[in-house]
């Protein structure tokens, strides 16, 4: 239909590709978009003004920030995050954020603009092959060159991102397709022939699992991110309680099981708790739920769980038998499997087995936890800051971290429970994640405070996002744990490179003054006596707030399963 025709009869229902895109997003329940504009995506941004009632756009200060923010938004809301970027450098700036969401199985729909379709493949100005670049780090991606293909591509994108094992997807839309008109209609995608996230449950496997559990004397549950993704925390608790089975968690699985619970066994892995690492190698049965036996969890795989049979409950079949060979695979959704398993599991108390954990807990408490969380003298320790925040928030917070020692301190000393949400970069360990992630989390209106712990190094990787906090008055509470070092790398240098501190010491700026320049309230503490009041003040503040804490410069995170060591060869003190 031509413009002329439209003017004559006035009944044109055709809209531009950009318009259609935004309508599709609204259909999918999107209310917030994180992004950054540029030449090729301008038609979409222009249309955003017409939909400002239903779509809020948060302009970050870098596309990486938009990507992390969208991921965090997804993690607190349970809805896919949405992120816009322009072609070329805009798209490539997303890559770290896409990869981060990919490794942690978070649904984010990335929309990148592309040069006009006729120029694709010619090295046109700001053309990059983002489809090719993002291929290894997206669950799915596609390019759209015609406006009429936009609705179906977006529908697929959302369906794929959120179903099965969730993950990021990318749709690259040529500029002319954003401008071109189409007759708009939308139907959500509910089925793709080559992709079947719904797997029929084989009861026979569930029955076998029950037999293995009922016969085990020392079973141990390993709970991962899949437990919270599938909404199986209640089912997991019921199973653990009924079977008297201790539950250890991975980093992203921390909120999967309440830490106050008598069956909570602790955090697994390199800087995890003493008992679950040691006792992995005593267990006679491991029940892994929604986790993938990452090397940071297993330590030396050749010496991993030698006495245990392994049941792996996992929605992603490719994760099963990838790192460890299992005895029983149940390739399905965690919640569905646990629900079916519960009635078949016999009630047991397994007190002797649980006592083994408590004995090791005691040792860890005396040697590591108490000195870290209740020191009486010396510089402030990360552990005491984290446990103070934990106490003052009662676990009722969205806890965001960056990457490094402070991240491990949070994982170890924040007491997660049913009210807590954790947003951290697990699989990728992306420094610079914390600041944009906390603003994205807060945009999801979690109904609880958003508290972010960030190292002095990581903070400076994405500190431009303070501009975003300022512009939108996003009420996040940021603790900069400042040890003047790239702490985690320094720790490795101390332990494995003869204390040769190659490029890990940092001359830092005045963080309080930087906050001030952005109009953000801030305070610095360096004395233990001031800490409690300072944290209280931060938590009570209305808007964004930064609390910089001077931390002991050369403290180490312990225990540690050193590289190459077995999980039962934990280093407790160094």
């Amino acid at each position: 239909m031509t413009v002329k025709e439209k003017n004559m009869n006035g009944t044109d229902t055709r809209v531009s590709g950009a318009d259609a895109l935004l309508r599709c997003l609204i259909e999918e329940g999107v209310d917030t978009i994180f992004g950054y504009p540029g030449g090729t995506i301008m038609p979409v941004y222009d249309k955003l003004l017409d939909y400002s009632q239903s779509l809020r756009h948060i302009l970050t200060r870098h596309e990486q920030g938009a990507a992390h923010a969208a991921q965090a938004y997804a993690m607190v809301t349970g809805k896919p995050g949405v992120c816009f970027a322009t072609s070329g450098p805009g798209a490539t700036n997303l890559v770290t954020g896409i990869a981060n969401a990919f490794l942690d199985s978070v649904p984010v729909v990335f929309i990148t603009a592309q040069v006009v379709s006729g120029l694709i493949g010619t090295d046109a100005f700001q053309e990059t092959d983002i489809l090719g670049i993002s291929m290894p780090v997206t669950k799915w991606n596609a390019q759209v060159k015609k406006a009429e293909d936009i609705p179906s591509a977006i529908a697929r994108a959302f369906y794929i991102a959120r179903s099965g094992r969730p993950g990021p997807v990318l749709v690259d839309i040529a500029k002319d397709a954003q401008v071109e008109k189409l007759s708009y209609s939308y139907s959500k995608c509910t089925y793709i022939r080559s992709y079947n996230p719904v797997i029929p449950l084989h009861m026979r496997d569930v029955e076998s699992a029950a037999v293995m559990i009922n016969h085990a004397e020392k079973p141990l549950i390993l709970a991962g991110h899949g437990v919270t993704i599938s909404g199986a925390t209640e089912e997991l608790k019921a199973l653990a309680v009924k079977g008297g089975i201790p539950v250890a968690v991975t980093l992203l699985g921390l909120p999967a099981f309440p830490q106050g619970h008598r069956l909570y066994a602790g955090l697994l892995g390199m800087h995890g708790n003493y008992a679950p690492n040691m006792l992995t190698n005593s267990a006679d049965l491991i029940i892994a739920v929604g986790m993938r036996f990452d090397d940071r969890v297993t330590g030396n795989i050749k010496k991993y769980a030698p006495d245990a049979r392994i049941i792996h409950i996992e929605i992603d079949k490719a994760e099963i038998n990838k790192n460890v060979q299992v005895d029983l695979e149940i390739n399905n959704d965690a919640r569905e499997v646990l629900t079916a398993l519960l009635p078949l599991v016999r009630e047991k108390s397994r007190e002797n087995w649980i006592r083994e954990f408590r004995i090791l807990d005691r040792i860890e408490y005396e040697k590591v936890i108490r000195p870290e969380t209740e020191p009486e003298e010396g510089d402030i320790r990360m552990g005491e800051v984290v446990s103070l925040v934990s106490e003052l928030t009662g676990g009722n917070a969205v806890v965001v971290t960056d990457v490094g020692q402070h991240q491990m301190a949070v994982a170890r000393y924040y007491r997660f429970n049913e009210k807590s949400t954790l947003v951290t970069s697990g699989g990728m360990g992306t420094m610079g994640f914390g600041l944009p992630a906390c603003l994205g989390a807060a945009c999801g209106n979690p109904g609880k405070p958003v508290v972010s712990f960030i190292g002095d190094g990581g903070f400076q990787m994405t500190l431009q996002e303070l501009g975003t906090l300022m512009q939108y008055r996003i009420p996040v509470k940021i603790l900069i744990l400042n040890n003047g070092f790239l702490g985690m790398v320094r720790q490795w240098q101390e332990m494995f490179f003869n204390r040769r501190y190659a490029s890990t010491e940092m001359v830092n700026p005045d963080f309080v003054a930087i906050a001030g320049a952005y109009g953000i309230a801030a305070q610095r503490v360096s004395r233990r006596e001031e800490l409690r009041d300072a944290v209280k003040k931060m938590l009570e503040a209305e808007g964004p707030y930064i609390l910089e804490t001077a931390i002991s410069r050369e403290a180490n995170i312990l225990p540690m399963v050193e590289p190459g060591a077995s999980v039962s060869e934990v280093t407790l003190t160094y």
Binding site: K139, S194, Y195
Partner: protein, 187 residues
Amino acid sequence: MIKQEYTISLFTEDHIGILSRITLILTRRQINIESITASESAVSGIQMLTMVVRTTPEMVNKVARQIEKLVDVIKVFVHTSTEIISQEIALYKVSTKGLMSGSMIDNLVRKYHARILEVTPEYIVVEKSGSKNEITDLLAFLEPCGVLQFTRSGRIAVTRQVKELNAYLKEMDEIGRPSHEPSEIYN
């Protein structure tokens, strides 16, 4: 663990980029693709890829699962050579002078079951289909007469198993297809 030869046959939707995604998985695991053939399958709209790789039994299963996980991949089968019926085809361009000597030509047809496609005063083009070994044997046989060009196709294979792709498609449809298609159309 010992490496051995596997034929990976897989069925995909006919989507741009899917081949890249598949080869990325093999590249990350340092698996070389010895041959690859893409074609239509018996079901219209569905592509079939046949790849020959050498790797361990453990690894071939890992990559097969990773490939099958790709959104546009429908089904992946891994077979050892005994489980399939496979053929390759090769073309040999040989100098006419060399080939005309002795009983070469006779043997070519009788012993090696090859076909002659084109004869000129300078060269003769010979075609042979068969197993990889048969094709290599013929190459060795022709070598003394001067092989000017040689090319071999990737492997094509059908399986001995009875259950066909259509049956899998039907099964997948039954599991996955929602009981009612959403009817809302928005304007």
